[in-house]
């Protein structure tokens, strides 16, 4: 029987069977998809949403913001007195609910120095009556401090009240909006430098791992398999050893009177100990060690499949070793090098733990700044914006990796 003789029913039947099979396969995969979606994808998605949506202030003082809507903040007049009055009333209310500090923090972020002003005024407002504020709340407020006459402050209040904002993304590029709404450079230039520094550290690590992994992988690929298998264990054991264990050992080695300094001193090679721990060099050394297996393994699997007779042929024909190596062997290992390099680069650019422990000030990377804004400066929105940029970079690199190597070809161990 050949295909041409299939009846319509038979085709439909086989199609139905195929569809049934597809549904069945999907059913197998569905639990994990749902699980990953709930436990992993949605948390990240909601965090990224946070980088543009920040409704705190608009929830705290909705009526004042409604009054401020028609005020022209590019001009040089104070907001209308109705807005000031409404603000005084809402601030009094916040003070009673003990929420004035929240407003103060948000406005202070845009106009440093206004936190104590808002909080002290809130304390005073608490002691006045609502009737008085409804009568002339604007002049009461303005009488508390001459800082309330500052138009920049009101601009900050109005801007803080926008629930959707691009300001965190602008900050990640060291930009801001001026009072007229135009984009300009911020006074403090910090994040672009930080990205560049992280990229530089990741590049150093990638180069170092490649440099160290290449000869070892070559040796392992060409050695007799019995020896190679035994030596492979020495590559895999560090790979399996806890990240924190490896980081701990680098502290023991690199600290001021640690293993390295004391052995160099007792050998008489140096007089004064090196300052290595808590430096950028410490981050690079420790991470090179930690990520080295990720370079060795892909290189090894590519080199393993290269027929050694090519090089042997060249050598036997009288080629000198180094040119022969560069011209013949090296090009054949490019897929392994690029796979390993991408993998190491992807992992290192988002690294947190090792820089946090051994890196000191100089060895911090993007992840550490994200953690700083999460844990110390309370600027979660900025952390989310920085995180989404990092994520975009990783996804782009991952896409290249998929093109080059194929995600389905990832092998473990």
């Amino acid at each position: 029987m050949n295909n041409n003789s299939l009846s319509v029913e038979e085709i439909l039947e086989s199609k139905r069977l195929l569809n049934r099979k597809k549904r069945l396969l999907l059913l197998f995969t569905l639990p994990l998809l749902v699980f990953i979606f709930i436990t992993f994808i949605s948390p990240i998605a909601t965090m990224l949403y946070r980088s543009v949506y920040h409704p705190t202030v608009s929830q705290l003082i909705p009526l004042s913001l409604a009054e401020l809507k028609n005020w022209d903040e590019a001009g040089d007049a104070l907001p209308p007195s109705a807005a000031l009055q409404q603000f005084a009333i809402e601030l009094q209310d916040l003070s009673k609910q003990r929420l004035s500090g929240k407003l103060a923090e948000e406005v202070n972020r845009l106009k440093p120095g206004s936190s104590s002003l808002i909080k002290s005024s809130a304390r005073k407002l608490k002691k006045t009556t609502l009737e008085e504020l409804q009568e002339n709340g604007d002049s009461v407020l303005l009488s508390y401090s001459k800082k309330w006459h500052n138009i920049d402050l009101w601009r900050a209040v109005k801007r803080a009240g926008q629930p959707f904002t691009d300001s965190y993304y602008l900050t990640t590029f060291d930009l801001k909006r001026n009072p007229a709404g135009e984009i300009e450079q911020r006074d403090t230039q910090i994040y672009l430098k930080l990205y560049w520094k992280s990229l530089k550290i990741a590049i150093y690590i990638t180069l170092l791992t490649a440099l160290l992994a290449y000869p070892l992988a070559y040796y392992l690929a060409t050695a007799p398999s019995k020896i190679a298998n035994r030596l492979m264990v020495l590559v895999l054991l560090p790979f399996w050893t806890s990240l924190l264990v490896r980081t701990t050992s680098w502290i023991a080695i690199l600290q001021t009177n640690g293993v390295l300094n004391s052995s160099l001193q007792s050998l008489g090679l140096i007089d004064e100990p090196f300052e290595l721990l808590y430096t950028q060099a410490a981050t690079i050394i420790a991470m090179t060690h930690i990520l080295l297996p990720f370079m060795i393994l892909p290189l090894y699997s590519v080199m393993k499949n290269i027929d050694p007779s090519y090089l042997r042929a060249a050598l036997s024909l009288g080629a000198r070793p180094i040119p022969a190596f560069i011209k013949i062997y090296l090009p054949m290992t490019v897929p392994g090098v690029s796979a390993g390099a991408l993998l190491v680069f992807i992992i290192s650019i988002g690294y947190y733990i090792t820089p946090a422990i051994v890196g000191g000030t100089d060895g911090q990377m993007i992840s550490n700044i994200i953690a700083f804004h999460m844990q110390s400066s309370n600027n979660w929105e900025l952390a989310a914006a920085l995180g989404s940029l990092l994520l975009a970079l990783i996804i782009a690199l991952y896409w290249i990796y998929d093109r080059l190597v194929g995600v389905n070809n990832i092998k473990l161990g």
């Binding site: 195929l18 597809k22 396969l25 999907l26 059913l27 197998f28 995969t29 994990l32 998809l33 699980f35 990953i36 436990t39 994808i41 949605s42 948390p43 990240i44 965090m47 946070r50 160290l212 992994a213 000869p215 070892l216 070559y218 040796y219 030596l231 264990v233 590559v235 399996w240 806890s242 990240l243 924190l244 264990v245 490896r246 701990t248 050992s249 680098w250 502290i251 023991a252 009177n257 293993v259 004391s262 060690h289 080295l292 050598l315 070793p321 992807i346 988002g350 947190y352 733990i353 422990i357 992840s367 994200i370 999460m374 995180g387 990092l390 994520l391 990783i394 990832i410 092998k411 473990l412």
Partner: protein
């Protein structure tokens, strides 16, 4: 002296030995930092460095007291207990879900296979700090932050890609006509799964489970953000020890962890060798 091909000059031999020497150096760079911890954990003094007594091999310079310290410190005991509870439950979830999904995904008839794969492997690719930050907010709203369940679910999510990869690899040579044959002979799907598919992929499932376990066992960033004081794990305890109060108890714990990793490594290698033999048909069942 080993004999070399006739065309080998002095330079060839030098390159040969140079390569060997470099490889040994790199291997030393890989292993020494790990080995150095072990003797340091027996240091009598509360330092991270070799004392003169240790170098002179005086018995008094060595002690087991940091190991004893672990057993007398409630925080370390709690951390050890937590690491195993969280690791085991996370591994169970990751292994069951990951194995099922791999069976679906490895079949060429699966629609949008590449897309699903990319999504399901993403927990392995996304930097942990982003995962941790996102989970922190999201799980807090669900009242899962600071609970065992929260950490277990998070770690299960991080472990699934590894199960997926290893089981996928085990299934790569799988002949799906066996399933059809089994079903055709009247076996029910569950029976087909346990009697036909499972025996063939078992090594893949187990090594995937071990990967998932070590992922959870070694994970600290998510724990740092998500876990409360009651869910402190070993790495979390080490992290705060390194940041706050460096003392050799950490080295003692590190030594124990090295032993655990070595055991896991040998199990995995054994399983891999076995799985290769199964796939090449040298071994029955």
């Amino acid at each position: 002296m080993k004999s070399y091909p006739k065309y080998f000059t002095f330079w060839h031999i030098l390159a040969h030995y140079g390569l060997r020497f470099c490889s040994l150096l790199v291997l030393a760079f890989l292993m020494l930092p790990i080995l150095v911890i072990i003797p340091l954990s027996f240091n009598v003094e509360p330092f991270f460095s070799f004392t003169e007594g240790m170098l002179a091999l005086e018995p008094e310079a060595y002690s087991l007291k940091w190991y004893a310290e672990i057993w007398h410190d409630d925080k370390w005991l709690l951390a050890i207990k937590n690491s195993f509870i969280i690791g085991i439950f996370a591994t169970l979830i990751a292994t069951v879900l990951g194995t099922l999904a791999a069976i679906g995904l490895s079949n060429p008839a699966m629609p949008w296979q590449k897309l699903w794969m990319a999504i399901l492997l993403s927990p392995m690719i996304v930097p942990l700090i982003i995962t941790a930050a996102g989970m922190y907010f999201f799980y807090s709203q669900l009242n899962l932050a600071g609970s065992y369940l929260g950490v277990i679910l998070a770690h299960a999510a991080l472990g699934t890609p590894f199960v997926l990869i290893t089981v996928n690899a085990a299934l790569s040579g799988f002949d799906y006509s066996l399933v059809n044959a089994s079903l055709g002979l009247g076996a029910r799907p569950t029976m087909t799964f346990f009697k036909v598919i499972m025996p063939l992929i078992r090594p893949g499932v187990i090594s995937g489970a071990l990967f998932a376990f070590i992922t959870s066992f070694d994970e600290v960033v998510v724990v740092l953000f998500l876990a409360g004081p009651e869910q402190r794990t070993i790495p979390r305890q080490m992290f705060s020890g390194l940041r706050e109060q460096i003392n050799p108890t950490i080295l003692a714990v590190a030594t124990l962890l090295i032993i655990i990793s070595a055991m896991l490594l040998f199990t995995i290698e054994y399983l891999r060798a076995r799985s290769e033999r199964i796939q090449s048909g040298e071994l029955d069942s």
